[in-house]
């Protein structure tokens, strides 16, 4: 029994099923991020936790109290919206204390809470302004302040950073993370930005088409994605997926892939249980940072395989250099140190960290556990 329990929750609008049997159990103090492409049902799930949408089937409970049918204001939750949803006719101070006022908190108490939160978020000087006279980042803070003064059991954030420009988004991301570490509150956070998901969360729920694809820590999601969808959705640039044939020699499995000129080369797997796949086609997943030059290879890795191929394009990106090549007919991206000496159209000796490689069943698209 967790702090926030979502069990077997489904949602249908008429005959359209938008969420299927969602199960998430959140511990107190966790930072759960729901991530997935547009329309996958993140906001719908969030709204059901908040009580803004009725639950079709299943149960949601907070602190062991069943929430089905409980009014949003009686769930002791607070929500930060994508558009901030500040009341335009009220000052910042009124915006932040409106909820307390509606809950019958006395004026003196309201003022004390307001002052505390305003100091925490450094918005003391904005309290008498109207939202229309604030910048995007300031509105964002006020929206968070409005949630904080309520001191709720669970904070819900629905894409709170997506209206900010790139730089401010990164700053606010850090700010939110600091706030979570300082206050230790339980947070459910919706985003479609996988970087936000990886950096902020203690656990991530990757969603697609109304299904939870995988629920796990950022490391689990990144290193051992449950299926092709999670593998390609999380990470930037995306994981390289290439068709390969498994060859087993003396009980050791190799992936047979073709370089740009069609010459076959073998990469030895670290996985031990692929014997039954001998001769079969699989999909090999390798993250760009697992393909480097030989000097740049991860020294802790047990299994570095050499692979020689012709370089198609080089894209220097400041701290890294991205190298594109063709493997088994697909474009593959390698992420190298900025000072790696690679030249386009040359043949180059790559080091592939096979400890980090994952294998997918091409039929079910699920990862073959190693």
């Amino acid at each position: 029994m967790g702090f926030l329990d979502i069990s077997h929750v489904s949602k249908a609008y008429g005959s359209v099923q938008v969420l299927h049997e969602v199960d998430i159990s959140v511990e107190e103090g966790e930072f759960i991020v729901l991530v997935g492409p547009s329309g996958c049902g993140k906001s719908t799930l969030m709204n059901m936790i908040a009580g803004l949408e009725p639950i079709t089937t299943g149960d949601i409970s907070i602190r062991g109290r069943l929430m089905n049918g409980v009014h949003p204001s009686k769930r002791n939750i607070a929500m930060v919206f994508q558009s901030y949803a500040l009341y335009p006719n009220m000052t910042v101070a009124q915006n932040m204390t409106f909820g307390l006022e509606m809950h019958g908190v006395p004026k003196a108490e309201r003022d004390r809470l307001l002052a505390d939160v305003a100091r925490l978020l450094q918005i003391d000087h904005l309290l008498e302004r109207k939202p229309g006279h604030l910048s995007g980042g300031q509105r964002q803070r006020v929206a968070m302040g409005r949630a904080l003064v309520r001191n709720p059991d669970v904070f819900l954030f629905d894409e709170p950073l997506s209206n900010l420009d790139a730089k401010l988004r990164v700053d606010m991301r850090t700010e939110i993370k600091k706030l979570h570490q300082k206050l230790g509150t339980t947070i459910v956070y919706v985003t479609h930005d996988q970087i936000e998901a990886l950096t902020l969360s203690t656990r991530i729920a990757v969603m697609n088409k109304g299904y939870i694809q995988q629920l796990g820590t950022p490391k689990e999601i990144y290193d051992t994605p449950a299926n092709l969808f999670v593998a390609t959705f999380m990470g930037s640039p995306a994981m390289n997926i290439l068709p390969a044939t498994i060859k087993v020699r003396d009980g050791v499995a190799f992936a047979e892939i073709a370089d740009a000129q069609g010459r076959l080369q073998s990469l030895q797997f670290s996985q031990k249980n692929l014997a039954s796949w001998d001769g079969k086609e699989i999909l090999l997943g390798i993250r760009p940072e697992a393909i480097t030059d030989i000097d740049g290879a991860d020294r802790k890795s047990q299994n570095i395989q050499r692979f020689s191929n012709v370089v198609t394009v080089i894209e220097p990106a400041g701290s890294d250099t991205f190298v594109t090549m063709t493997v088994s007919g697909r474009d593959v991206v390698a992420r190298m140190r900025a000072d790696a000496s690679v030249a386009a159209r040359d043949r180059f000796e790559f080091a592939v960290n096979m400890d980090k490689a994952v294998v997918f069943d091409p039929k079910t698209e699920a990862r073959i556990p190693g």
């Binding site: 949003p72 204001s73 949803a85 409106f98 909820g99 509606m102 809950h103 409005r146």
Partner: protein, 299 residues
Amino acid sequence: MPIRTTRADLRTRLQDFIPKIVLAPSLAAILIFVYGFIVFTGYLSMTDSKMLPSFDFVGLDNYVRLFSLPAWNTALINLVIFAALYIAICTVIGLGLAILLDQKIRGEGVLRPIYLYPMALSFIVTGTAWKWFLDPGLGLENTMHLWGWTDFQFNWIKDRHMAIYTLVIAAVWQTSGFVMAMFLAGLRGIDNEILKAAQIDGASNFALYRRIVIPLLRPAFLSAFVILFHMAIKSYDLVIALTGGGPGRATELPATFMYSYTFTRNSMGIGAASAVIMLMTVAAIMIPYLYSELGAKKE
């Protein structure tokens, strides 16, 4: 080659020119028949015109005489009563209907046009229909008598103290649906997330409307006020159809005063002066409104 460019040039120039040619007659017509005649009326108001326009300048004499006429003062008092009640009641009913319709009730699609239909009628039709309905010998009172309720009395339309209120009833009936549509559009324009936030904040329905929604409808209130105000000042056809200005002068409004002095009482100068006063009253409301609207757009 150069020849072809000039030809293409000619064509683009022609294309630029055609809209101007097409618009020119209507522009000229508006300049003459609207603004020209406003200026002409303004001039007439300072002449001693009687039945026909005359050009003997008398300064502000007509204005002085206008405000000493009991008929004009009656018309002004009537206008104040009529406009205040008409605007207030239309706004209250329009807002009330809009809030009720906004509760996602079933049948909104049927109800909305029903409330809007009166607006499609001309004031002449509205006035005539209400004249019959309010006539003690024909309408409501007579029907009640026929149904056996013989004590029932409703003869405001024949009562010099109450007749002005029948004008309010008919005008409110005609316009509140339109005001409702304006408020409904305003309500629908409110960001859904704000309403969700208020729900989470625990606002009761009453607090939600009083503290958040109605303040957000300020632009709709302003537009409704301006539209209703200028309709009240222009009210002419409704009075003619419903009461003809009577009984006596009990329902005379500035617009009916202006018409009768200009065209039937041979005092064109005074009629013109009253028209100018009406124009200035409308302008005093409209110009600041248009400024604030256009100013807000620029921001």
